[in-house]
Symmetry: C2
Subunit: 463 residues, 2 copies
């Protein structure tokens, strides 16, 4: 790295926010996956102007610049595979404004999802996206990967809940996309283009979030099934009527066992699948919706369906749900965690095919997730020390993706492509579209400094 | 036009679908505005492959290609200002599939919005966007301008209700964007990039629409106010609570007079503003919502609030609402119809400022529209034969836009930019963003054949 480059950085930001000591840089080299690449330098901007300065400098010296949120991403999206600068956005964690009359919050990318929810709640509002990692994941990460969590089923994903963005392109230009209003069609939709672009097009420095009125009442239902088919049929039935739940989470047997073991939730034996159903509404309407959804949950393999006794039991269930992913890592530290999506009616076919695959390869496959959107988190619990498993896990994963795509599904619902899935993207995205995306990348980031080596296949042909 | 070009067109499409006779081409030279440009040739493709063939040919001969739906657009988006080919999509009006289990419809762009609704209704589903022109406007036009109508308040705009697109870029490449699922983050969001791009990036040949369950019951409330402030305060109150109406339409006094005169709706004297409120829900919940919204509608200037007696009265009110725009044209054939947006809390300030402007310029300004989204249709009822009005109408319009932007609003909610607003776009979109948009246009359409001369300012500098 050019010494002048570093001097200029240190002149602009205080020294304590330009990290070069490997020990200090080290934590910024990984994310929610196990991959690690050492950043050469880590910078921690505090303002939009800092981001402009850093980006211009990196652009001038052609040094890779990897924007980074809380580092909880699941696809290696925030790791600096070509070295260079990691730019942690975590010092930019302010709420710029809350406008309760128009239900709009403007926030910086370093704020956690939970902090957004807490601030919104004071105005009887909420922001729809709430990934399982909401306690520590950052807004910037939610925007980068369109990470939306369980409530997307009723309230949409990040793309449906952001109105406008302020961002810095690869050559350091500031852009303002979208509008402060819920309707807007003035030129091309750059807002949604940036959402889900995983930091490869521009660094978001402010997001204008569409908030929603907090429902007066929330309830949790827990339905236990003797078979997977029983549960998945119920999912299709629930999604086939007008009153949508605010969450519809599926857990297979292994997940149920984990929740029992690590979550401290009392569950009877013989449960092959569980649905965790969130319902919201006002004091009057909620009981209606509860009985409608209870009715829709009934299949021949239903064991019991219960309303969480109280807020405490409800919290316990959701807490257990949020802990599934970390708990699974205890069992299989090297597990491969995918977040594929299939049309809701194809969930039974997906799970049946996964079961077959699991037997064929001798690899336990654990499935749980946002069944209402068909967004299932599929975990291949392989042991790298088991040579047979290790030799076939890639083949098994490829088969998972083939099954998903044959069911008219998608490779990722909310984790993104990053590093982990770039080898597979051409199986879903056609050549012309991928080529357009590559050229769009070049338009926003002519020197290719922003988060290089992500999304696009590594050995993809030049434009 | 090169004779070989025409021969090739006629060899591919049957002669009856390649129009060259000026009399037959003439209707394709205008749209919902008064501007007219004569197409040199009109083609009417029937299949995706036809569109590919036509586009490749136009690209080869560098001939402008203007895709066109029903021609009801409000900004001259579909007129061939540089001549060339107009490609009417109205023969491509098939529903490719309806998947009621997953609530998805795939349809071609020439289908009318109403035909979509009728087909969806058979499965107890609906597509949220329903512009006032829904009886004749096409899906393609809805996609081109993100035109969403009243229900956007509760169910979102076109962008929130489309999952995937099949389209043909400027050089004739076929692309498939998005996915069949409600969650998806695999590469950049080309779906939303095309929605609202007014036919300048690619021609959409199939759209995968997200349908919603049809509410079991619908009701219409009509609230009459002695003052504009009374009504706009009620709008803020209604939008400030959790139970959203499915439509919240505002009419000012002039509009009320029109509805009385042309719509055959009986309304008392002294009404200065009217709110037409749509509410949907199930048999039980709807009465709750009605009483909540009735309560929220109360301000000191409320005269009466009534529930439409029956379906017939309700239909009469909505029919009258949909006829406002055509009726206004009877009164002022050359009226300028804008569809600006402001944050809901700024509607009172907007209307006050418009009243002042109206007095200042002696031009009647009629305002009505989707108050719940702050999307107000502002009509400057000027008479071109009145020299004083004609001399100042442009200045007045500029002041309208300045007011809107100062209130943190946007130039267009659902009409788009097209030809009519291209001179103003730089007032809302910053230079860097506009430059990115221009370069994106070049990526999708390297020779600039697709709907040239739209959106971007006419005398904008080269890249």
């Amino acid at each position: 790295m050019h010494p002048k480059f570093l001097t200029k950085l240190q002149q602009h930001l205080s020294k304590e926010f330009v990290l070069t000591d490997p020990q200090k840089c080290w934590p910024y080299g990984t994310d929610g996956t196990q991959c690690f690449f050492m950043p050469e330098t880590v910078v921690l901007p505090k303002t939009h102007d800092d981001v402009v300065f850093i980006t211009r400098l990196c652009n001038e010296y052609e040094i890779p610049l990897v924007p980074r949120g809380a580092g909880s991403g699941a696809v290696g999206g925030a790791v600096p595979i070509h070295g260079g600068i990691v730019m942690s956005m975590m010092r930019m964690h302010n709420i710029v404004s809350i406008d309760h009359e128009n239900r709009v919050m403007i926030a910086e990318p370093g704020i956690t999802n939970l902090a957004i929810q807490i601030a919104a709640k004071k105005h009887n509002l909420f922001w729809a996206p709430d990934p399982g990692s909401r306690e520590y994941c950052s807004l910037g990460g939610n925007l980068a990967h369109n990470s939306s969590g369980p409530r997307a089923i009723k309230y949409g994903t990040v793309r449906e809940n952001v109105l406008a963005l302020k961002a810095v392109t690869g050559n350091g230009d500031t852009i303002h996309t979208g509008a402060y209003t819920t309707k807007n069609v003035v030129g091309y939709d750059l807002t949604r283009l940036l959402i889900g672009s995983e930091g490869t097009l521009a660094t978001i420095t402010e997001a204008t979030l569409k908030l929603l009125p907090l429902p007066k009442k929330q309830m949790t239902l827990r339905a236990l099934y003797r078979s997977i088919e029983g549960a998945t049929t119920a999912v299709t039935q629930i999604m086939g009527q007008a009153e949508l739940p605010s969450a519809l989470e599926f857990m297979d047997k292994t997940t149920v066992d984990l929740v029992r073991q690590y979550g401290g939730v009392d569950l009877p034996q013989g449960v092959e699948a569980l649905l965790l159903i969130g319902i919201d509404g006002n004091d009057h309407s909620i009981n209606d919706v509860v009985s409608i959804i209870q009715e829709a949950s009934k299949t021949s393999d239903l064991m019991t369906i219960d309303i969480a006794k109280d807020e405490q039991e409800s919290q316990k269930l959701w807490q257990a749900r949020r802990r599934i992913s970390p708990s699974l890592r205890h069992v299989a530290p090297k597990k491969i965690n995918e977040d594929i999506v299939v049309p809701v009616s194809k969930i039974p076919a997906l799970l049946k095919a996964l079961e077959k695959l699991s037997k064929q390869y001798g690899i336990t496959i654990v499935s749980f997730g946002h069944a209402g959107n068909g967004n299932i988190h599929v975990n291949l619990m392989y042991d790298p020390d088991n040579k047979l498993q290790a030799a076939h896990v890639d083949e098994c994963l490829q088969k998972v993706f083939t099954i998903v795509l044959n069911l008219n599904g998608s490779l990722s619902g909310e984790h993104g492509i990053g590093l982990s899935k770039q080898a597979f993207i051409t199986q879903e995205v056609d050549e012309h579209s991928l080529n357009l995306m590559r050229q769009i990348k070049q338009v926003f980031d002519p020197k290719g400094i922003l988060n290089p080596g992500k999304i696009f296949p590594a050995n993809s042909p030049p434009l």
